[in-house]
């Protein structure tokens, strides 16, 4: 058990990162910390993808010196997926940050519980 984890230490680290980010996103009440958690969670997945996609001793798939065997290069798809994932993660972060700004302007706090209480008092009739 421990040995398998030690051999696959990158994947183990990725899953631990995912867990940390996931719990932060779910259970932290501070909106900014939630967002940081989301980014840690996504980084965990990207680390997992990148480490799975890399094969030791092979090069990036750019043909140099006329070497054309596929065994000389790694598969470019996982790296492409990581890039796509990063773009998605950045845009989601941007939208959520803008939402956070709006909420802060209105309620002057970043604590989700407090915001919830405040909103109940303000719009009792809705």
């Amino acid at each position: 058990m421990i040995e398998t984890l030690a051999v696959n230490y990158e994947e183990a680290a990725a899953i631990i990162l995912f867990g940390i980010g996931f719990t932060m996103l779910l259970f932290h009440q501070n909106l900014i910390k939630k967002l940081i958690g989301m980014n840690i969670m996504d980084s965990g997945v990207f680390l997992f993808l990148a480490s799975m996609g890399y094969i030791g001793g092979r090069k990036a798939p750019i043909i140099v010196d006329g070497v054309q065997e596929t065994s000389a290069y790694i598969n470019p798809v996982p790296a492409g997926l990581v890039l796509t994932g990063i773009v998605v993660s950045v845009s989601v972060t941007a939208v959520t940050l803008s939402l956070t700004v709006q909420l802060y302007r209105r309620y002057h706090t970043l604590n989700l519980d407090e915001i919830y209480d405040l909103s109940r008092h303000r719009l009792e009739d809705r």
């Binding site: 995912f18 989301m38 997992f48 996982p78 998605v88 959520t96 909420l103 919830y116």
Partner: protein, 498 residues
């Protein structure tokens, strides 16, 4: 004729393009453009449906001419075409039935942005329906999340921003889990296209040592989509999200967005995992139990609220439970019932969400039951349509809700004894609870308010509001009276689906 095979791609690209175009138009022009564009989309989807039924097979559209193990694909069968067509009809009805409220709820300079978001959302919905590549599914899933959050926050009262925040956080958790599931499956199979993935998975499943990992990754992926679509116990964001949004958003979010996630889930079970292998996993049984819990607790919570929109939103949680119960039964009949209920619930729920704001309008802009007493008499059109929606939710014969309950029952009869008892009990209890709170509300909107007169009756009848509601009623009755036509189509589509 074969030119039609390009249409699925057109629906996605044209929607993206329309989204960009609406940013440049004025609010009114964007609305008119969006309505016409959605008409075009209906024609495109109907053409694909016609083509797939005529040829009797599904077709694969290869993007960029890279053949199967590489590249990206779109696949269209009759089930996809039917769902796309249906979604577009609901979309156009929601927009045309609710644009007056959009104009009221939104700042005038932002109306065009609302329609831009709706068009982008259409693109995301279409790609989730057509795609044959699981990572494309993930990317458009996130686009769907962003746009649905966008159409929530356009109404700038504090509670919608808060609701959008909670919705966003839950959705981020869901997408994170979905991404992890996808990455794990990609790791095992080495493919992202669904058909090669399925081949690899059936080979892997043959060795018992691989099974726990496959079950784990499918489970993670399922939890992700279950959170996003609002399966019990992840349904608590629903009332705030649907209840305070502008009516078009509420209708689109509850009837299309959450259903698109479920459609993607069914597609993954059918095309990536394979229904035979999925039936051997314990996930289906868990989904069924959670679905049944959702049916009962969603209804109980709906009974305890005093706000009409929140009641309808909680009832959505119950109806999502029905759909997951159908998936959990695991047989083809179960999937058929689930897909049929996706249609039946979409058409009913969009109708209810478009009706309540009109009833609130004649009740001093309040959605509280106390104020809404007698509102059905003050606005007769909206009252009648609310009644149609309620009857369908309860499951009164000739309406769509009744047929879907029959299909759930039939699916349960064909499965094991424990499932049969569970499903029948759940259907009975949930129908009774549905009947209690919907009939209570219907009686309330048709009873005389105490201590004051009936109030002013809305005189003018808006064709712009009534026409889409008539269309929704017609679809509802069609699904109720001619359910076998729809069921045959769905069954045929499910055969092409795998």
């Amino acid at each position: 004729m074969d030119f039609i095979t390009n249409f699925p791609l057109f629906t996605i690209v044209l929607s993206l393009f329309s989204g960009a175009l609406c940013f440049m138009l004025s609010g009114n022009a964007a609305k008119k453009y969006t309505l016409r564009f959605q008409g075009v989309m209906i024609v495109l989807c109907a053409a694909v449906l016609f083509y797939t039924i005529r040829t009797g097979t599904s077709f694969t559209y290869v993007m960029g001419e890279f053949p199967a193990p590489w590249g990206n694909e779109i696949r269209a069968g009759s089930l996809e075409a039917m769902t796309a067509l249906f979604f577009m009809v609901i979309m156009i009805c929601s927009v045309s039935g609710g644009y007056r409220f959009v104009d009221m709820d939104l700042d005038e300079s932002k109306v065009n942005l609302y329609y831009a978001l709706l068009n982008l959302m259409t693109a995301a919905l279409m790609s989730l329906i057509w795609t044959n590549d699981i990572f494309t599914g993930y990317v458009f899933l996130e686009i769907l999340t962003l746009t649905s959050c966008g159409i929530l926050i356009v109404r700038e009262i504090g509670r919608t921003t808060l609701a959008a925040m909670r919705y966003m956080i839950l959705n981020l958790v869901g997408s994170g889990l979905f991404l992890l599931g996808v990455v794990l499956l990609y790791d095992f199979t080495g493919h992202l296209l669904m058909v090669p993935m399925r081949k690899a998975i059936s080979l892997l499943w043959a060795a018992p040592a691989n099974r726990p990992t496959l079950i784990l990754s499918t489970g993670i992926l399922t939890i992700g989509l279950a959170i996003k679509s609002g399966l019990f116990p992840f349904h608590f964001w629903m009332p705030d999200t649907y209840g305070y949004a502008t009516p078009t958003s509420g209708s689109v979010l509850s009837s299309l967005v959450s259903k698109a996630y479920i459609f993607l889930l069914i597609k993954i079970y059918y095309r990536v995992i394979g229904p035979e292998i999925f039936a051997q996993m314990p996930i289906g049984r868990i989904l069924m139990v959670l679905g049944i819990c959702g049916m009962i607790f969603g209804s109980l919570q709906a009974m305890s609220t005093n706000n009409c929109n929140r009641m309808i939103a909680y009832s959505s949680a119950a109806q999502i439970g029905y759909i997951y119960m159908g998936i959990g039964i695991g047989s083809t009949a179960g999937y058929l019932a689930a897909v049929f209920h996706i249609f039946a619930h979409s058409v009913t729920k969009s109708m209810l969400f478009l009706t309540t704001p009109r009833l609130a309008e004649v009740s001093g802009d309040s959605l509280k039951f106390k104020e809404m007493t007698g509102s059905g008499m003050r606005d007769r059109d909206a009252g009648a349509f609310f009644l149609v929606g309620s009857f369908s939710m309860i499951g009164i014969p000739i309406f769509a809700g009744f047929s879907s309950k029959i299909f759930f029952g039939l699916a349960a009869v064909g499965s094991s004894n424990i499932k049969l008892i569970l499903v029948m009990l759940a259907l009975a209890v949930s129908s009774m609870l549905n009947a209690i709170y919907f009939i209570r509300t219907s009686i309330r909107i048709y009873s005389m308010p105490e201590g004051r007169d009936q109030g002013e009756v809305r005189a003018h009848h808006r064709i712009g509001y009534n026409l889409p509601m008539f269309v929704l009623t017609a679809i509802n009755l069609f699904l109720g009276l001619f359910s076998w036509v729809a069921a045959d189509l769905i069954e045929h589509g499910l055969m092409m689906f795998g």
